[in-house]
Point group: C2
Amino acid sequence: MQDMIVVKIGGSEGIDLDAVYDDVAGLASEGRPLVLIHGGSFETNVVAEALGRPPQFVTSPSGYTSRLTDRRTLEIFEMVYCGRVNKEIVEKLQWRGVNALGLSGIDGRIWSGPRKKAIRAVENGRSRIIRDTYTGRVDRVNSDLLALLLDAGYLPVLTPPAISDEGEAINVDGDRAAAATAVAMGAKALLILSNVPGVLADFPHESSLIRELQEEEIESIAQTAAQGRMRIKLLAAKEALDGGVGHVLLGDARCASPITRALNGEGTLVFKETQVRSDGL
Amino acid sequence: MQDMIVVKIGGSEGIDLDAVYDDVAGLASEGRPLVLIHGGSFETNVVAEALGRPPQFVTSPSGYTSRLTDRRTLEIFEMVYCGRVNKEIVEKLQWRGVNALGLSGIDGRIWSGPRKKAIRAVENGRSRIIRDTYTGRVDRVNSDLLALLLDAGYLPVLTPPAISDEGEAINVDGDRAAAATAVAMGAKALLILSNVPGVLADFPHESSLIRELQEEEIESIAQTAAQGRMRIKLLAAKEALDGGVGHVLLGDARCASPITRALNGEGTLVFKETQVRSDGL
């Protein structure tokens, strides 16, 4: 979809959500086709604690951290992501005159793919296998449904979980789901906004922001510089670029007009060397 | 929409949800256009208790009981209705091969109407005014969006809240929202299923089931026989009939094939005297 952008907004502390909503409303009023994708990790931790089910995280042998999602955790996850966060975003956008419409990846099979049979986790240097986890990855995006809604004037607001090939809800990574969505929709750009200015060469020093990153450099940066959640954002960036998305921007959501700023190149621009980088967004 | 039915399923104890899902899947596979609307009251009470926010209910001077919904309660309400219950229903239907898609009334402004400035509650025989309540009623249904989704092969699964004219999420009664939806869609029938067999002349004796009820009799029955939640279901039935819906059935959801049974006339059929009642569903 020409000119379409996919914006992923994190669920961490520090993000100025009102600024995101204002910016989305401005872009929507200019007629920019936009799909908004969000997380809810921080709020899920709060609710899970309150419900006596403290969150647990595991780290894979390749160093990616993810939520340990048994069935009860998945239910809490859905309450927060699909109920609390998704509906608040939709409400705040509706309040600004945007005809937003919130869906999870299971609705209309927006995001589907295989559930992992088991995951391998590293704990104190030892590896163990975890089963009964409701996690997986997005292999297919129902772009027909998204196009149907966009064409009818709605702004889709998407959130995990996705649905497995067997029809179970599965926790998937929001950044990578955003990348899959951008690829499937032929989006012009993917913007991944969080509570850091972009990729930092010397985390957490924000003056060490890397402004441009070639795809070929991602792997070495991910090993040396990128911390925590940024590693998976870089993986998502690579997946989007490999799928043909022209621009991927890792930007800051703690400021006014975070989307417009990212579109103007603030943050870390990740690109393929072969791309003409001067075309405007 | 010809042949379309709107099914409202309650959120009380005793309901056999798997039977509802099986029945929906069967009807969907026969090509019956169907909109499913659900509650989540029981589960909301459980989560609200667990989060240290016990539910409060108020009774209006005319005898209707409703949830006292301040902003924090609304957030918990959204978590359970839109997150926990809606997504579970969508997942269970997807698992059965139905391309279900869950939306709240705020998504795409499916259900909109005025927020109540204040509500009058009766407590121990004394009347008081309550403000800061996020409640209202459905005046408009986005039938275009529902038709768009139905035509594209999706089965909409709808839940409160609705959205106020000012763009705030508001708690609305699910039965009456279902009635408004049936009216707006020109539905052939509205089925309101709960954990009783229908309207009971001598509650809770199930042998006192009233099998047929003319619209003109609703008021007197509501005064004498109908208990608790059944009163508002009768009000919803009346609103649907007045809006041109041909058949309203108040049926039992504690059994196998609850929708098919209701379509076959089990439960309480509420009708206008002027209607030809012999046309099949």
